[in-house]
């Protein structure tokens, strides 16, 4: 049927079948959509077209020679043949050339079994070589501790080069020389330093770039694959865990266009190594008279239940924000069942004045991750975005580079963003309230409004400078605007003020206010009621927050998740005093760190990331569940089971779930009911009226100054699993942050 060409569509024929394709699309888009397979190496959906491998040559009627499908635009009336003798002949000839210099070392190559070259050699290769000259050999590069190189295997597709230039914004890899002498390299060998660098392992179609920690660890066809969700940040990247003989051997991305596209950050790819740390807790342990001994579960749980029950309402429960939703939900129910609302997951927060007006502050991003790419103006307060949420930073980079979004930051230091940054306001943490006030005033100027009178004391005597005006102009660009509060703002001693000023700035600019909660379940923890100010049903409650429950010591504490007091809590000194004076400290934890051995009375071994089924709610409010990939080591058990049995021993109502799914569904029903009743908008944004927090009393507990090091926690030190991952700790990023920390410690000493 000869249809009229529509405006944006052209008609063409693929292998004799009429198809329509978007104008300007390449032939390979049309053949892929049509299901006609065309082999390729250099073409990748997420990268710019290079057309240098020539594997996708197809025959096009009237063209004098075969054309590369990835770089030839479709045209009206075009007739494409993907299986004709000319096309197949061209593809086979290309394959023969590609194999000339490719070593025949598949038996010792980690890519074997999942190698695009191997696969296509089966389809298009000859059974015998006609090339009898010597093959070339290429010296390997040192790309750091994460990526192994076997450059002799390289077929020069340049996917890694284009990833560096167009995705990461690091034009460090390139091709030098030409012809026979062409090499991929950094020339002067420098480690590729980027938080997304591991993605070149997946992009490499051959075994030239592979995972260094996984080297010689297993063959792809021997492993089983389980879907997982990344726990380290609130993005909720989708992963696959690859398991061999009960061990998690590696982690690779799982495509989800709405969340992580096809990428994952290095810390998601390599954190699994931390699960094998020497101090993994394998058996329940009990401290009696200062000595630790391994006991059976019954004894340990009995001791824990007695200790917690004896405390009554004088109980503090701290849950890690990267715990699963099920663990958070059960921890919250346990605390509340024992008559204590002292439950919190905001372990590093220092200022909780905003809790009174918190029902609207529990939203995460307030927009979908995909829509971040269409932002026109963005102000980020207190976040080193690349370190904090690498894949969110990638979305922002796309907005800045492709859509010319104007991005501004309030930060402790000038950072290298690898995309155009419109303004960076740099100030010491102690001045951030005034800086945020100046940004609000500048936004009022730029947007033509006025800061609400309630902010009187916060904006008193503050006048914006050119830097603030530049940031405000950036925010007020276009019509899709956002103001984000990052982890450094969340950890700030005057967070409530920063939050109120950010909300006012967002109101003035007509922007969406977003909060980049720490951990994989910051949004989920609020929904689960793991906060002192509300329960899962949305009812207001009055409990002590994470800081208050340590500064006013309780009789017993329950720690849930991989919490190491000196590194994960805002006030380790207060924690040491509180735990030291408590009658009972129960830690449900995957690691038996020295600190916990010093502080706790009962240690219950818990399954870590990938060892338990569970749910994470990301910053968009997306609920994502995954099964466990491997069994936890020793006698460790999934956290939800431990907490459920504790609930039974304590004779609490409703601890009768038999699977993590049942825990989730019960919570889901509660959350839906609460949202339906409008009681607690746990996962929605909304333009609630901005509430100014009560003025910080001078010298108040929360008002103390926090050092830059306490606010700006390095990206590979944010949780216990990452701190135990050898490959990540060996990266230059981690080394540099450790060196900076040592230098800072020397200055203060």
């Amino acid at each position: 049927m000869a249809a009229q060409p529509q405006d944006d569509l052209v008609n063409l024929e693929i292998d004799g079948q009429p198809v329509k394709a978007r104008k300007g699309a390449m032939i390979i888009h049309a053949t892929d959509a049509h299901g006609a397979y065309v082999p390729r190496f250099c073409y990748h959906d997420k990268l710019p077209v290079a057309a240098n491998c020539r594997m996708c040559l197809v025959e096009v009627e009237k063209a004098p020679k075969p054309l590369p499908a990835c770089a030839t635009p479709v045209a009206e009336g075009m007739k494409v043949f993907t299986k004709s003798p000319v096309a197949i002949g061209a593809q086979k000839a290309t394959m023969e050339f590609l194999l000339i210099n490719h070593p025949l070392d598949c038996p010792i190559c980690d890519q074997g079994g999942e190698c695009e070259l191997q696969d296509l050699a089966v389809g298009f290769g000859r059974d015998a070589a006609r090339f009898h000259e010597r093959k070339r050999v290429v010296k390997d590069k040192d790309l750091g501790p994460l990526v192994s190189t076997d450059m002799t295997r390289c077929i020069h597709c340049t996917r890694c080069v284009r990833f560096g230039q167009d995705i990461a914004g690091i034009p460090e890899l390139g091709t030098t020389g030409r012809g026979e002498n062409m090499l991929i390299g950094t020339y002067v060998e420098k480690a590729v330093e980027h938080e997304l660098s591991g993605n070149i392992i997946d992009l490499c179609p051959v075994g030239a770039l592979n995972s260094k920690p996984f080297r010689y660890q297993g063959r792809s066809w021997e492993m089983t694959q389980t879907p997982l969700i990344a726990p380290h940040d609130g993005l909720g990247a989708n992963l696959f865990g690859h398991v061999l003989r009960g061990r998690l051997k590696r982690v690779v991305p799982r495509d989800n266009e709405d969340v992580n596209e096809t990428w994952i950050a290095d810390r998601e790819r390599f954190s699994y190594e931390g699960l094998l740390a020497d101090d993994r807790l394998r058996k329940p342990m009990l401290r009696e008279g200062g000595a630790w001994r391994e006991v059976d579960w019954e004894t340990a749980l009995g001791a824990a239940a007695r200790g917690l029950a004896a405390a009554g309402p004088s109980l503090g429960v701290l849950a890690h924000p990267s715990a699963t939703l099920e663990e958070l939900s059960l921890a919250a129910r346990l605390a509340r069942g024992l008559g204590s609302a002292n439950i919190d997951h905001r372990l590093r927060q220092r200022d909780f004045r905003g809790d009174a007006a918190a029902s609207s502050s529990s939203a995460g991003l307030g927009m979908s991750l995909a829509s971040v790419e269409s932002l026109s103006g963005l102000l980020v307060i207190g976040s080193h975005l690349r370190a904090e949420l690498p894949l969110l930073a990638h979305r922002v980079r796309k907005a800045a580079v492709r859509a010319r979004a104007q991005v501004a930051f309030l930060d402790l230091a000038t950072r290298d963003y690898r995309f155009p940054v419109a303004a960076q306001v740099v100030a010491e943490a102690g001045h951030w309230t005034r800086e945020a006030a100046a940004l609000a005033l500048a936004t009022a100027e730029a947007a033509g409004g006025a800061v609400a009178p309630a902010f009187g004391s916060l904006v008193l005597g503050v006048s914006p400078t050119d830097a603030h005006r530049a940031a405000a102009r950036a925010l007020c660009t276009g019509s899709h605007r956002a103001v984000w509060l990052g982890a450094m703002a969340l950890r700030h001693p005057a967070y409530a003020d920063l939050r109120a000023l950010a909300a006012e700035t967002a109101r003035l600019a007509g922007a969406t206010l977003g909060t980049l909660f720490e951990g994989g379940n910051g949004v989920g923890a609020v929904a689960a009621g793991a906060v002192p100010y509300r329960d899962a049903a949305g009812n207001a409650t009055a409990g002590l927050d994470a800081l208050a429950m340590l500064r006013s010591p309780q009789r017993a504490y329950l720690l849930v998740g991989a919490i190491e007091p000196s590194q994960d809590l805002a006030d380790p000194a207060a924690a040491a005093v509180a735990f030291g004076g408590a009658a009972c400290v129960v830690a449900v934890t995957p690691f038996a760190s020295e600190e916990l051995l010093r502080h706790a009375h009962v240690l219950l071994p818990m399954a870590a990331f990938a060892e338990t089924s569970g749910t994470y709610v990301n910053l968009e409010g997306r609920w994502q569940s995954h099964p466990g990939a491997v069994a936890p080591p020793g006698e460790a058990r999934p956290g939800w089971k431990i907490l459920r049995v504790l609930g039974n021993l304590l004779q609490l109502q409703g601890f009768d779930e038999e699977s993590s799914e049942q825990v989730r569904e019960r919570l889901r029903a509660q959350v839906d009911a609460a949202v339906g009743a409008g009681a607690g908008a746990a996962t929605t944004g909304g333009a609630a009226a901005v509430v100014v927090p009560p003025v910080l009393p001078a010298g108040a507990a929360g008002a103390g100054s926090a050092s830059a090091a306490a606010l700006d926690i390095p990206m590979y030190a944010i949780d216990a699993v990452l701190r135990r991952s050898p490959a990540l700790q060996a990266t230059n990023i981690a080394r540099a942050s450790r060196a900076a920390a040592r230098a800072a410690a020397e200055v203060t000493a």
Partner: protein
């Protein structure tokens, strides 16, 4: 890069704007003369297209350094033109007129492709090797002459046999004329 273009500083570009060259630590390796020459090439392209001057910049830098490029000098060009270093390395290693290893200051290439071969090109090359005491790809110990490569046709077949000395063609060669040409190199 606009923020850096304050006032009338920098080099004019072909579209009437200005480009302010970078001032990284290695830029000091470039002589004033070299910088002047690079500026003249920057001026031929629109603002933001200074990458187009890379090829010419490398030519002057190689000349300044007596015939070859070093990683530091390539970095200097990258800093001056505000480019990632790899983009300069790519150009320097792709084109055969750039040397990235130490070599003699005069580059001599003898053609041995078919027309020159029929007219005695191989004898001319053998004569050069004998006279200089080095093989193709080597430099004389005094650093005067680099016998660069056997050329595969420089499109001067009517003048075969021929050779190229520092971008100049010499045609209708005989052992005597080769002696004269090589002896004349300082």
């Amino acid at each position: 890069m606009n923020a850096e273009m304050q006032g009338a500083a920098g080099v004019p570009t072909s579209d009437g704007q200005r480009f302010v060259p970078g001032d990284g630590p290695k830029v000091a390796l470039l002589t004033a003369h070299t910088r002047h020459e690079i500026d003249a090439w920057i001026a031929r392209f629109p603002a933001g297209r200074q990458r187009s001057a890379t090829l010419s910049a490398l030519r002057f830098v190689q000349e300044q350094n007596q015939g070859f490029l070093t990683p530091d000098l390539m970095d200097a060009v990258a800093e001056y033109l505000r480019l990632p270093s790899i983009q300069v390395y790519e150009v320097a290693t792709f084109y055969s007129m750039f040397e990235t290893h130490p070599c003699g200051r005069h580059h001599v290439s003898v053609c041995t492709n078919i027309s020159c071969w029929l007219r005695g090109g191989e004898e001319i090359l053998a004569h050069c090797e004998r006279k200089l005491g080095i093989k193709v790809g080597e430099s004389t110990p005094d650093g005067r002459i680099f016998l660069k490569q056997e050329e595969e046709c420089l499109a001067s077949c009517t003048g075969a046999p021929m050779m190229m000395v520092d971008h100049e063609f010499h045609e209708h060669l005989t052992p005597e004329s080769v002696d004269r040409i090589l002896d004349g190199l300082k």
